[in-house]
Amino acid sequence: MQYDIHTKVRPVKAGDTLPEPALEVSAESKRMSGAEILLRSLEAEGVKVIFGHPGGAVIKVYDEMMRIRPGFEHVLVRHEQGGTHAAEGYAKATGKVGTVLVTSGPGATNTVTGIADAYMDSVPIVVFTGQVPTNLIGNDAFQECDAIGVTRSVTKHSFLVRDVRDLARTIREAYHIARTGRPGPVLVDLPKDVLMAEAPFHYPEQVNIRGYVVPDAGRSDKIARAARMIAASERPVFYVGGGVVNSDASEVLTEIARTAGIPVTTTLHGLGAYPEEDPLALRMLGMHGTWWANQAIQHCDLIIAAGARFDDRVTGKLDSWAPHAKVIHIEIDQSCISKNVFADCAILGDVKTVLQQLKPHIKPKDTSGWLAEIDTWRQECPLAYDHDDKLRAQYVIEALREKTGGRAVVLTDVGQHQMWTAQYFRFLFPRTHITSGGLGTMGFGMPAAMGAAFGLREQGSDMPVVCISGDGGFVMNAQELSVAAAHKLPLKIAVINNRFLGMVRQWQELFHMERYSHTDLSDTNPNFVKLAEAYNCVGLRASSPDEVRGVLDAAWEVTDRPVVMEFQVVKEEMVFPMVPAGAATGDMITQRLTPNSFV
């Protein structure tokens, strides 16, 4: 085996003063560079695809990649932010850990938005950042950035590897931490000299992090108590979040809900955890949730929260949220318990395990009166929009739903189209709705869709990947189109173009006396069809309702590259119903009011 000894910055020699390696080294382990250890560790971890961008600090890794041809695909993204979002999309679509590899300095800082997004939305990703050699750290060296420091508040954990002999173990721990418990992003900072130095390779099977405890089963007394509370309740509601999707608990949740006749409302990230066409499904709750889901929350006597964190977009004004409800909170992250809403019965544990523990205790209940009451709310204020000759985003989303029959992985960006997708797509399966919820990152959708497509391809799934984006957010990471095109990913990208930052515009109309400050994009929007073509994708356009189906049909004919479908929609449309920020959930605006009628 050939090694370039001239590039070694700090070879590790026998008799070095460094501490003994903690890991056991088998006799047949051969010495290899830190860069190769990184690649071999990823192979051992079962990584099939990584999203990366080379640079000086990680040049050795890319060099070794070419030499040893590891058993995973490296996707060269065109911006590191796109890479982190792609890793998120991959992770959310597959349930596996997404991997990102970038260089030091700007490479690292460009990943920060994606890392913060993954942190807020509990997405397991591991980000490897290059770093200047250890002897230069702190010297303001070229492309130096304290990546650990910059990302400290937005990572689940981070590591700086100072010794090549710690590298494999650190990577093992990074994946373990990212994947288990409440998932989240982990950053591993790799100084260049560590990547150059040599050590024997051994990938540890066991992880032992003494301060890191992953909750699993819930306490049996709490389970019994929860079961009694459910049995005693007359108006129970399941409030289901992304934790149910993360722990693959949809099946057991569905069984319990159906056995006991408990209606289910989901958060934005919970969409798909319970089939939305089921009679017990209340759809999404919260700021842009359905009227009936929010009414059910306001009138219920028991909330069974599973894998949800009582976000302010769900609760609105806390004091008046669910005033009659007792709360059972099933949650894997102890810091979420009683943070915003007091839990009368808190069960710390993995949602799936806890629901499985709970299931034998659940007896059939008669909730027909309660369900009938919810039905009257359902009829009182259904989701609706105008059907005329103007094109509206809701119509496009319903057409996409019809085209796919709900068998598609749908990714959205952030804004009005995101809420309309949540309202109108009627998700049936977990992991088919992927969005940026917590951080609300514009520019998330398209690169995440690319990542999801890699994930589905790896799993041999034939589900189409549909990205619904807005004209504002799409442009923010449009450069990744070229990557998706190069990899022949048949993404279906719907750009809902209202020539405005629609959600901000909506708030300006409702709460800022129609002062549309800097939200008009008509001067700065590109020609989306030409943009698509410039990136070797297919560009299509529809500007009236009767063109929509033709465009979708044409788009679904394309199988070897992404299609960008621009839908020119009216700019005045607003997302309703809506609980204004800080208002009580009971005070929903259900339709457009004249500006003066809302104070």
Binding site: I148, R152, S153, K156, H157, S158, L160, I177, I209, R210, G211, Y212, L318, D319, S320, W321, A322, P323, H324, D333, Q334, S335, I337, S338, K339, N340, V341, F342, A343, A346
Partner: protein
Amino acid sequence: MSDTLVLTPQQIIRKKAAGEPIEPDDSQQKDRHTIVVLVENTIGAFIRVINMFSARGFNIDSVTVGTTEDASVSRMNIVTTGNGRIISQVLRQLSRLVDTIGVVDLTGTDYVERELCLLKVRYTDRSRSEILDTSGIFKGRIVDITSETMTIELRGPSKKVDAFVKLMAPHNIVEVARSGCVAMQRDHAA
């Protein structure tokens, strides 16, 4: 850790609706809490703990950190204030960090607390004996003296140090250095 430390706004509403009594200050009361955190003995672990306090808007009144009988473990003693709900959040957020090995809130338990204080005060002929008297009452030790200033070493619970510094305030204090408190639970084994 109890789930019922202090009422949330929503629970107060619920209690009001049910006509149950609510202590007027039970959600606003701010208590001083002494929390012991055992962390991995690395700079990164220490910073993560401190960073968590600042990122989540919790107070730190004092913090000390030092090694323990196990060289790989550091012990942090953190004094913070907040109502029960905030403290319970602090404890949960601390436990959640990967680098924390143990978290104990000593408040409400039987524990010993000590702080070291060095206080340099400028004296005159008139104030000299009063300063020495006060320092004697607090079992302070004069560790340095010049013709103008003296430096007093004092140890004890933070409250005692507070009281001493307060009594010295009318004199001409040059500087005060306080270590922050270290604390340990009393052992009740026979």
